[in-house]
Structure formats: C-alpha cells, structure tokens
C-alpha cells in the first residue's frame, strides 16, 4: 500500500522526519538553542518537546562550540544526536568541533570509531536579518573530507534526506534555506529515505544544464518555465549533496545539453559553482561544451540589510533568465 501523500511545508517535513527518527530509535535525540518550548527560532522543532520530553529535546545554553562538541561526544559513544544551529552563521563559533573533531575522528583513530551526528543549519538571505544571520556557508564545510554536506530543496527531500542522515554512520551537515521553510510540497507519510550523494534532474531539457542548489533550484525552475516560451529548453539539476558530489549526473546532463550554468546563493568566488565547473572541465563532458561555463552566485559582499540591496546580492529569477538566454544565444 502506498503511503498517503500530503502537502507539507519544508519545516513540517523536517519536523516529521525528526519525530519518526525518534520514534524508531531511542538513541536519536535533539539538541539546540531554544528548540524546546520555544519550538526553535524557525519553529522547525515546534511542539516536539511535548511529545518527546525535555530529555530528548534538549535546550542548550548559548554555547555553539560546546554544544556541538557535546553532540560529537554523544555520537562517538553510541547516541544519534541531531544538533540544530539557530542560524548557519553560528557554525563559525563551532568550526573547531565540526572540522577538527567530527570530521576527522574516524580517520585519526584508524576506523575504530564513527561519529553519526547530524547538524542542521538554517541558512541563506532574504529575511532582512543582515550580514551575520544570512550567510550560505555550505562550501566551507564541503571542503572538509569526513563530512557529508547536503542541501535539500523540497519538502520531500528535506524529510527523506534527514532520515538518511540520521541512518548514516558519518557526520552529516544539512543546510536548510530559511526561505524554504514555508514552501509546500508533497510528502509521503511514514519512513522513507532519499539517498545522500545523488543529484536529481528536476526538469529535463536539451539546450542548457542549470546545476542549482537549495532555494536556487526553484528559481531555476521558474526561469526555465519562462525560457520554454522562448523556445529554450532548460534541464535543471538539483545537486542536493555537495559532498560527496554526484558527478556523473552532471556530466551526463552536460554531454546532452552542451551548455552549463551553475546557480547558487553563496558568494560566487570559490563556491560550489567553481567546483562543478572545474569538475566538468576535467571530465569527458568538456569536449561537448559549445559555450563557456557560466556561474551565477552571490555578490562579493556581506549580505546587506536594505531589502532592495539584499535581493541584489543573490541571483534572482530574471538574472537566471537573462544569463541563460545569453548563454544559449551565444552572446557570451
């Protein structure tokens, strides 16, 4: 019997995944700042504390480094913590535990241990929260062997990838764009997983491959709908995982379309688009390219407060349309 499929928001899908994980496995618990009665800064944990109690939905002090370290230590010794950062920006306070400890523990100890910790990072701009609460830092963590880094773009993937992350024996970092929390989509009831390390072709097309991450997936799809009317057929690849990257899906897509554009919100330089572009340049798909690769990324600036400026610092649908049109028509 197929599970019933409902429309849930991205935040509801994550909450449901955490509830299922805690019901299935008593080792799973939640830690984070104000995730109990407050329900989390973005109401992702919501009322879970009422269901699972304060011993499994643990409010931490405002101690990101220590809290992350406690989660790492608990994971190292048999528990399955899901640690919520209130904002992804606060990863900067906990980089020591994420980068030096969680990522390297298994390797340093010759495979004698594993660290099955899940960390969730509400990320991205668009909320008027200015420069210290709006960053997209996934490439920072994507640079670290030992971590897995994912960016689900839909409620369906948010639930399935979180459940995959909890089941994963290694540390998984989940970047959730804050503007996606209210986005709705179909989500089946019950347990299912979406594999980490597999990209998803969200729209098939012949003329251009857009590799997008997180909130940029929907923007790319919106742009593709407009471009279709102009006779430009766009393929949209939702990367979903930035480490380990699903290279083959991207390579196969570029071989089909002969054009590549990368769209991501994080600062353009040294971002995921650079990695995807270089990967294609090194692959057999390079010979299939009919045009230079194009990257659309965030501006080389902190995220500003003013709403017009804020919008201007990250790629928007019209930017994608213009760049795609130019790329396909050979303007570039």
């Amino acid at each position: 019997m197929d599970a019933m499929v409902r429309e849930l928001s991205y935040a509801q899908a994550i909450q449901e995944a955490m509830a299922i994980a805690m019901e299935m496995d008593e080792r799973v618990f939640l830690m984070g700042e104000d995730i109990g009665v407050y329900g989390g800064a973005f109401q992702v944990t919501g009322d879970l504390v009422e269901r699972f109690g304060t011993e499994r939905v643990i409010d931490t002090p405002i101690s990101e480094l220590g809290g992350a370290g406690v989660a790492v230590g608990a994971a190292l010794t048999g528990m399955r913590p899901i640690f919520e950062f209130q904002f992804s920006d606060f990863a900067t306070l906990a980089m020591e535990q994420i980068v030096n400890q969680a990522a390297k523990m298994r390797f340093m100890l010759g495979g004698e241990v594993s660290v099955p910790v899940v960390m969730r990072f509400p990320a991205g701009s668009g909320t008027g929260a200015a420069a210290q609460h709006s960053q997209s830092l996934e490439a920072w963590l994507g640079h670290v062997p030992g971590l897995k880094v994912i960016q689900p773009a839909t409620p369906y993937d948010a639930k399935g990838m979180l459940l995959a992350a909890v089941a994963d024996p290694d540390p998984v970092m989940i970047f959730e764009h804050k503007l996606l929390y209210k986005a709705k989509g179909p989500v089946p009831e019950g347990y299912y997983t979406v594999p980490i390390g597999k990209a998803d072709i969200r729209r098939e097309g012949r003329d251009l491959t857009i590799v997008a991450t997180s909130i940029m997936v929907q923007k790319a799809l919106d742009a593709a709908a407009v471009l279709e009317a102009e006779g430009i057929d766009v393929e949209v690849v939702d990367l979903r995982t930035i480490r380990p990257m699903d290279k083959q899906t991207v390579i196969d897509s570029v071989k089909k379309t002969s054009r590549l554009m990368c769209v991501y919100e994080a600062v353009k330089t040294l971002g995921i688009g650079a990695e995807v572009s270089a990967m294609i340049a090194e692959s057999e798909a390079f010979d299939y390219l009919d045009a230079p690769i194009v990257r659309l990324g965030g501006a080389e600036t902190p995220i500003p407060y003013n709403p017009e400026l804020e919008k201007a610092t990250v790629p928007q649908v019209p930017d994608i349309i213009t760049a795609a049109r130019d790329l396909v028509k050979g303007v570039r």
Binding site: Q97, R106, G111
Partner: protein, 342 residues
C-alpha cells in the same frame, strides 16, 4: 578495583588513602605502570632521536602520578578523553605499549593503524576516546560521552584530561557549564604543569588556582599535589563516587610539572635549569611513590628492581614489535575517511 581486607585495613589506618584502599599487589602494579609510562616516553624520545619516529611528540615525564592516580578508581568501561600530552593517560587506562609504539612508528598494528600518531593515540576498547591535538577539544566531547552515559543509563563515568593552557579556551567554560547544568557524570582534570607551551599560568590565567574556576560552574574544585599518587587517587575516587551517585561533575586541578620541554621544538628559554632540577631531584612522582611504598613496607629494593627489569623488557619487546610491524600501503591513504558501507 578490589579493596584491602578488614585486618589489613586496620593495620594501615594511619596511612594515606591509597595504602588503606588498595592491596599491595595493586599498588605494586601502579608502580610498574608508572615506570612503564616513564620508560615508554624515554623509549619514544630515543626512537625519535634515532629517526624511527617522525613528526613531534609531547612528553609527560614527571606527570605519571597524575595519570595513574586519576585512572586508579576508574573501571574498564569508564571513559577518558586525553590531550596532546596523553601517553600516560593511555597507558594508565590500560593500553599496551607495543601497540602504542607501533602507532608512533606509523604501523598498521598501531592503535590508529598509523593514521593518528602520538597526538591522536587512543584505545577505544579500554575506554580511551582519544588524545586530541586541539587544546580543550576533548572537553566538550567528554561531556557528550557523559550525556550518553546518562541517557543510556550505562553508569559510566567520563574523565576529561586537559592542561592548564586549556582552561583559557572557550570550550572549557562552555563544557563545564553544561556538565553542571545537566549534572553529568564527568570529571574535569586539569593537569597544571605550570606552562602552556612557554607561557606560565601566572602570565596567562587571572585566577591563582584553576580549581577556583569551579565556583563559577557550581561544582567542587579540588586542588591536589599531582606528584603524589595517593593525593590524586583520593581526589579522583571521591569525584568518581560523586559522579556515579548522579551528583554531577568535579573539577580537579592536579599541580605537576613536565621535566621535558613542550615538544621537540622547545629551546627551554622560559624556565630555569634550577627550577627543572628541583622538580626532577626533589619532587619526582615515581621516586616519591617508591619511597612511600618502601617506607610503609609494601615493597623492598629487590621488588623495585624486579619491576624495573620487567618494565625494561616490556619496552624493548614493544619497540621490536613496532619495528617488525608492516607500514600501511600508500594505496590505503583514503581509508577511514568515511565508514565503509556495503
């Protein structure tokens, strides 16, 4: 650990803690292990000089009573997190020196299969969750292990060793606070050897005693002479009892001294020869313990000599084991980054 019988206990009523608490065999074994730590580190230093070990290492020579005293009341299931100066902790918690030497030599038979070396030495089977190259890095991890113990009701106690340098890291303060708020079964052990690399505690730390910082986190702060085994073991015993009873964490400051420099790069410009000589001649923890054992009639010179000979043999065998062990193949460089999944 077992305890001394009633009759024996009565005869020792006026002796320091460990001589009342533990059997002669147990105490002789402690002396054996203190020598084992000392000779292991001398052997490692010698092997480094001979070019058999690369990288660097941080020797705890002079701190053996601290490692042994803290681990004395711990059971095999109890856990520790350790530091870059962690060879003594590892041996005290039950590691075999041959597999430690093998690790230092970068061999596959080492505890970390040659991937960690001195700074990441671990023995998970014996409850050593690993030395740490980051000062203070192990402290929150120990609190996490203690949270596991509480949530899974395993009864395990977790000890976090760190040095005086770590008490000025944010991780120390965040971790102590959380452990106290959640009343976790964890013991924070600051081995204060007077210097964070070259910077003395007087120049780096606003409080006179690091144990004073326990007050800020509403837990007992205990100062012990880290070079006197019995003092350390007694403080640890009480802290373990408190932790097992669910009463929460303790901060123990074990005041000690490292005879050697910080690491192999140390030119020793921040302390005087007289100071080092004083600690080596008058306050050596092995000599102090040995003298007490002899004075209280637990051992004689012949017994001490037998221990020294046996330790020398174990060290020699360990180095031979390490030399004869295979190195990992370069094709295996990528192993253990992620868990291998079927």
């Amino acid at each position: 650990m077992g305890t001394a019988s009633k009759a024996v206990a009565d005869s020792r009523a006026n002796l320091p803690f460990v001589y009342r608490q533990y059997s002669a065999e147990q105490l002789k074994h402690v002396l054996y292990k203190m020598y084992l730590i000392r000779r292991f580190e001398e052997g490692a230093e010698d092997s480094y000089t001979r070019g058999l070990i690369h990288g660097t290492m941080h020797l705890s020579i002079g701190q053996e009573a601290s490692a042994m005293g803290i681990c004395m009341p711990l059971g095999e299931d109890d856990q520790i997190t350790s530091t870059h100066r962690g060879h003594g902790h590892c041996i005290a918690k039950g590691a075999e020196v041959k597999r430690m030497f093998a690790e230092f030599f970068g061999k596959t038979t080492g505890y970390c299969k040659g991937r960690g070396g001195s700074m990441h030495i671990a023995d998970v089977a014996k409850g050593n969750l690993g030395a740490n190259g980051i000062v203070g890095g192990g402290i929150p991890i120990a609190v996490g292990a203690a949270l596991s113990s509480k949530m899974m009701k395993t009864g395990k106690v977790v000890v976090s060793f760190f040095g005086d340098g770590a008490n000025n890291e944010g991780a120390f303060h965040e971790a102590l606070n959380m452990a106290a708020v959640w009343k976790l079964p964890v013991i924070f052990v600051c081995e204060n050897n007077g210097y964070g690399m070259s910077t003395s505690t007087a120049r780096s730390t606003a409080v006179k005693n690091i144990a004073d910082r326990a007050a800020a986190y509403s837990m007992p702060g205990v100062i012990v002479n880290g070079n006197i085994f019995s003092e350390v073991a007694e403080a640890s015993y009480k802290a373990v009892e408190r932790a097992r009873a669910g009463e929460g964490p303790t901060l123990i400051e074990s005041k000690t001294y490292r005879h050697r420099g910080h690491s192999k790069s140390d030119r020793n410009r921040y302390r005087t020869k007289e100071e080092i000589e004083d600690w080596m001649s008058n306050r050596d923890p092995i000599t102090l313990f040995e003298n007490e054992l002899r004075e209280f009639g637990f051992i004689d010179d012949k017994g001490i000599e037998a221990i020294r000979v046996a330790v020398a043999q174990e060290i020699a065998d360990g180095i031979e084991f390490a030399k004869a062990s295979p190195s990992p193949h370069v094709s295996e460089t990528g192993n253990y980054v992620y868990t291998e999944q079927a």
